[in-house]
């Protein structure tokens, strides 16, 4: 098997995640979709690392994870505080930012 298949898988997962972001309204699911996209990227990085024979790709994936963790922490905190005020986790309810 050609390892390029990993890349195809990564692309597929990324696309699914992105579509999910666009379709779902629940902020938590939305976040999960973003995680999915990040993971898809990580897979690509790891695959590239293998292709190029250097560990830099894995380092990037590692950093991605850290950043994702930070993002999840902040993002979930936002969701919680949103839920407190609006009693809803739907991103469509927070649509006041318009003219």
């Amino acid at each position: 098997m050609n390892p390029v298949n990993y890349l195809y898988l990564s692309a597929l997962l990324f696309t699914i995640g992105a579509t999910g972001v666009l379709i779902r309204r629940n902020a938590i699911v939305l976040f999960m979709c973003i995680e999915l996209m990040l993971n898809a990227c990580n897979l690509a990085f790891v695959t590239f690392s293998r292709m190029h024979g250097s560990l830099d790709g894995q380092i990037i994936a590692f950093f991605t994870m850290v950043v994702a963790a930070a993002e999840v922490v902040v993002g979930l905190a936002i969701i919680v505080s949103l839920f407190r005020t609006r009693h809803s986790a739907s991103v469509d309810d927070a649509s006041l930012m318009k003219l």
């Binding site: 972001v21 379709i23 991103v91 006041l96």
Partner: protein, 631 residues
């Protein structure tokens, strides 16, 4: 001695400044101060005159250079005064008649709370008029020219609370502005032609320039003269100008300012001499105006307006004479001076009558005043005899000369112009006799004014009658004094030049014809107004009468064509500015606003919607990257 010229102007200018800025403290003495400064100017003029008489005839021109006014590259305007025989004549006329009218005004304006201001304006007028006649270049003359216009504006509108006075003042200024436009274009033409506009260089080198250019300059100067001297087609303001106090009408609108046009033409004689076409137009304008004014004068019941028509007509004589070239210049000025005397006298007389009649101006409400106002009657009567050309009096000499000169022009033109002048003389006799009879003879037709005050006609105080007497003396003797031995001719000839025309009719014939027509004109008036009672309300009259009462429809024409047209033009332009010019801009703004309103709908506030566009954008970027690599 020539260093004193500036003082001639400075004295009344000082008076104007002090009186206008001085405030109420000067109310008590203001009129005496103004009169004193006018008189001082006259005395100074007399001193300069005697000095001038002591010099040789061709060495009498003196100039005084004060300072460089507007120096820009080739454009050099200086404040320089020039005193020659022509200017001197005017200086004496202006300051002399001016001083008398100042004196008269002390009495006439006695009850006006703004008398100080009135004298300030009068002094301002004297200064401007002196500047006009003393200037050594056309631009400085222009300053005086507009200066007298301003003074005239202020004085016509002196009783500003009367809307008619304010309107008349505005009209006078505006019509004059049209004439001023001519003067400024003439100056610009001179500058491009000669590179200067000082009298000396321009007049000396006028013969070096093509006739077309000179004709253009001449016509522009004529336009200016028409405005200032109330000649057709710019005559319409003079009748309305009678809204001003009567001394103003006497000084400005009879004796001095309105004759400035004649001065301008005579002063620019060298230009006109070399431009026969322009000269012809000048004579035509003069002839038309002298008939026009005379006809209007016949129909007016307002004593001042009748006299205004007469003024217009008499100035028409002067312009006609000035248009005749060297054969007429001297007589134009001579008639100007004698006219200054008798017309000022007539106006002062009219003022005296009004003074006694509760400011009534309608002659149909006068009548039989000769016994109540003997001095006024006598002085007015002498002025009347002078203007109609009674043999031996001023008008006889000066007007006859003009009629002779008109015939002397020669050819068909000579006959037509001479005929017009003769006809004018007859009409003059008619309308002046009419004024005389309606005012001083016949039965009393006095009526109470709006407040119900019965008029109690009385003779005016001495301060008013003395100037009238002096002017009457001038009206009687000035003509004879000037004509005996051709004194005036020899006096002015060095400046204006003189030529004898060869008239197809003899001088005696002209004089005889004039006298016959005088008798005919006066006789008709006597039959119409002396033999029959004068109706207190004007009858409807013939078509000609009605048209003449309306100033031969000039105002109606102006109103329909200029005022209405102008109103429509400005109104439509305001509309255009608002809707079109501004509309384009506002429309652009509105369309941008509309577009952003549409685009705003994309900004629906849903984060997911924004995410779609972001994602789509990312997709497009990827596609572009791929495409670029493929290419």
């Amino acid at each position: 001695m020539e260093n004193l010229i500036a003082l001639l102007i400075a004295a009344p200018l000082l008076g104007a400044a002090v009186l206008l800025c001085g405030g109420r403290r000067l109310d008590a003495v203001g009129h005496w101060l103004g009169t004193f400064l006018a008189g001082a100017s006259f005395v100074l003029g007399a001193v300069l005159f005697t000095d001038m008489l002591g010099k040789a005839a061709d060495a009498r021109t003196v100039t005084q250079h004060l300072f460089s006014w507007i120096p820009v590259a080739g454009f050099q305007a200086d404040v320089t005064f020039r005193l020659d025989q022509l200017s001197m004549t005017f200086v004496l006329l202006i300051t002399g008649v001016g001083s008398l009218i100042h004196l008269y005004s002390i009495g006439y304006m006695e009850h006006d709370e703004r008398r100080r201001r009135f004298f300030g304006y009068l002094n301002l007028f004297l200064a401007a008029m002196l500047l006009l006649v003393l200037a050594d270049n056309y631009l400085l003359l222009y300053v005086g020219w507009e200066g007298v216009g301003l003074a005239s504006y202020l004085l016509i509108g002196f009783w500003q609370h009367k809307p008619s006075a304010a309107t008349a003042a505005k009209k006078a200024f505006l019509v004059n502005r049209v004439g001023d436009m001519g003067l400024s274009i003439a100056i610009m033409l001179m500058f491009t032609t000669f590179g200067t506009f000082a009298f000396g260089p321009v007049l000396d080198s006028a013969d070096k320039v093509g006739e077309g250019r000179l004709t253009a300059i001449g016509l522009m100067l004529l336009l200016a003269a028409c405005g200032k001297s109330a000649q057709v087609p710019l005559q319409s303001w003079l009748g309305d100008a009678m809204e001003g106090p009567t001394p103003v009408s006497a000084l400005i609108h009879a004796a001095t300012m309105v004759t400035a046009g004649v001065y301008l033409i005579v002063r620019s004689g060298a230009i006109f001499n070399a431009a026969p076409d322009a000269q012809l137009v000048v004579t035509v304008v003069g002839a038309v105006t002298l008939l026009f004014g005379a006809i209007v004068g016949c129909a007016k019941d307002d004593i001042k307006k009748a006299l205004a028509g007469s003024t217009m007509s008499q100035i028409g004589y002067m312009v006609l004479a000035a248009g005749l070239g060297p054969i007429g210049y001297v007589f134009a000025i001579m008639h100007l001076v004698t006219h200054g005397f008798f017309k000022a006298g007539l106006f002062l007389g009219a003022g005296s009558v009004m003074h006694g009649m509760n400011d009534e101006v309608d002659m149909r409400r006068y009548g039989g005043l000769r016994t109540y106002m003997p001095v006024t009657f006598v002085t007015f009567g002498l002025g009347y005899l002078a203007i109609v050309g009674f043999p031996g009096l001023s008008g006889f000499f000066s007007k006859d000369k003009i009629i002779e000169a008109a015939f002397a022009k020669g050819g068909t033109e000579g006959w037509i112009l001479g005929g017009a002048a003769l006809l004018g003389a007859a009409i003059t006799a008619y309308y002046m006799t009419r004024v005389m009879i309606m005012t001083f003879f016949g039965e009393k037709r006095w009526q109470p004014d709006e407040q119900g005050n019965e008029p109690h006609p009385h003779e005016s105080p001495g301060v008013m009658t003395i100037p009238m007497i002096v002017l009457a003396v001038g009206s009687v003797f000035a003509g004879g004094f000037f004509s005996l031995g051709d004194r005036f001719l020899h006096w002015l000839e060095p400046v204006t030049g003189h030529a004898e025309g060869n008239s197809p009719v003899s001088a005696m014939t002209v004089t005889a014809a004039t006298l016959v027509l005088l008798v005919v004109g006066a006789g008709i008036a006597y039959v119409q107004y002396g033999r029959r009672p004068v109706p207190a309300v004007a009858p409807r009259g013939s078509l000609l009468t009605r048209v003449a009462r309306r100033d031969l429809l000039q105002d109606d024409f102006n109103h329909v064509v200029l005022v209405r047209g102008g109103e429509h033009l400005t109104r439509s332009l305001v509309y255009v500015d608002h809707t079109l010019v501004d509309g384009v801009v506002n429309g652009t703004a509105a369309s941008v606003g509309g577009l952003s309103g549409r685009l705003r709908r994309l900004q629906n506030g849903f984060a997911r919607s924004y995410a779609v566009s972001m994602f789509g954008g990312a997709a497009v970027l990827v596609a572009l990257t791929l495409l670029m690599r493929a290419v």
